[in-house]
Amino acid sequence: MDIEDDDFTFNNILLDQADEVLDYRFLTQSLPKTGEKDFEPDGSAFQSNKIEDSKELMYSMLSQELKAHERQVVEGIFLPWEGQTLIVTIRGNYFRDIGRNIPFKNKSAVLLNKIETLYLVERGTLIVYLGNDKFRSYLDGLINSFSFRDLDPLNLQYVYGLLTSFEIEKYQVFAYLKRLGYLVQDYRHFVVQILPDEHHWLSPWRISWFGSSNRDLLGVNIKSIHYQTYSQILKKLSIIPSYAPYESLKENFNDSEFQIHYNVWKPRPAFSKKLPPTPDFQICITKAFPQLHDIRHLFNQLNHTALNIDFEDLEMRTKDHKLKHGTGRTIVLAIINNGVSFVNLSETQFSLTHKNKITGYVH
């Protein structure tokens, strides 16, 4: 089985019941899908046999090993002094989003962090060895060659053991998203440029028309100012207060410990690791739901709106859609409660319009 192929076949039967514990029976085609669980134990042998069957099935599923095709397996060396894994021979499709390419002995190599290393090890696609002094001499150029046979291979448990408790939680989120095929990178800041108003310049005769009027329109005195763009007039005419999301970016709330951890993209054919497009989702990993000032702090770290909005498409959307999903900044909270739950936080936009166009690039 080619494990890089996306395999969503199970999702159909799982959608309804995702919140509760599932019987591993669902996974196998050979066993009858009873689907239904019981209300409570009735002491019958029938029920206890069913439980034993389910447990045995689960244990046998757990005992299976994840193996990658031999030609897809990559070898890497964990460098304890760097806390990273060096991969000299790059193979397969795993490094589209993860790892950092570095020049290495006139070639190119990849460095993985501990979480990325663990993900590939768990999938059986990476064999990782522990870098020793001899290998260090090779890196420093003191020796000309090395052999994997001089190094000790590490097992899965060891690689898990490299992580702190928080990194284990981070790994749970990372692996969850990677299993579903998302492209995941550590959060990087996007620098934003807010472009000046898109100038729909008023033609000269219109300026004079407004300028010469002495009337108050809806109580707004428009007589004594020169208006040069439509936006200026429309801003003045807006009598019910509202704001577009990026306009709420004000001071920083530095007393919050909440931060964004991952940039996430939907699967896409072309992806540049170095110059990625604007992320589709940005993930904050937390154990508790944030307070309002934490949320504002989070939004301030995302000092841009969702940049890849299709503005024409946006005009077509309904008001309800805009209020529900917002048209501005969105943060996904990954809440760890042993497992992972995802909550979407969007800034609702009551002004229902964008006054400025903005653009951004990754820093």
């Binding site: 019981d38 447990k55 291979p153 590490l154 899965l156 448990q157």
Partner: protein
Amino acid sequence: MLDLAVIDSDVLVFDVNVVKQLRNLGILGNFMGSLAAAPQQNSFLGLPLKLSPYEILWLVDNRQANLVKHKGITRINNHKEPYFYTQYNNEPSELEAVDIEVIRRKANPSSYSIFCQLKHQGYYLLPGLKFGGEFIAYPGDPLRYHSHVIVHPVSEVNFYSLIVSGRLATGVKKLYVISEPDETDPTFNITFSIEWAGFG
């Protein structure tokens, strides 16, 4: 007694036989690894099994498990088999005892108290965040039974959250139970269940 290996302040179980023994004690944990049979989904996960602080405390306090830390490296010295890798190795290595206080700091005492009480009554407990509580309680192994109870320890009764949780519980066909350890005997919990009374 089981030896459970601690990584930082978590317990991860890599051995399916230990998973079996824990399950027989009614300790479920939470799988967090990819399952070999279906690696690209998250509904069924595989080893390792991550235990919650309450499960760890219960195991240690009831003398079912010891916490240990592996010293040094556990190695598999087999260069021939290319797939040795994901084998979950139990090769004994030097062990070091771990202070349970590392775990106890992560647990809320009143949550632990109701956890122990329900565990003693034969319930299977899992984290209940998805249902707005501390735990959800199953009448038997969750592989076979639905849970009926959302449990949440409270120190004061807030009517606003009673309404919110009561409505939520009714919506997911469960009972919302609030609990508080008794002042005179902290191992005993006073519990109330919230249900919409359908007068009409």
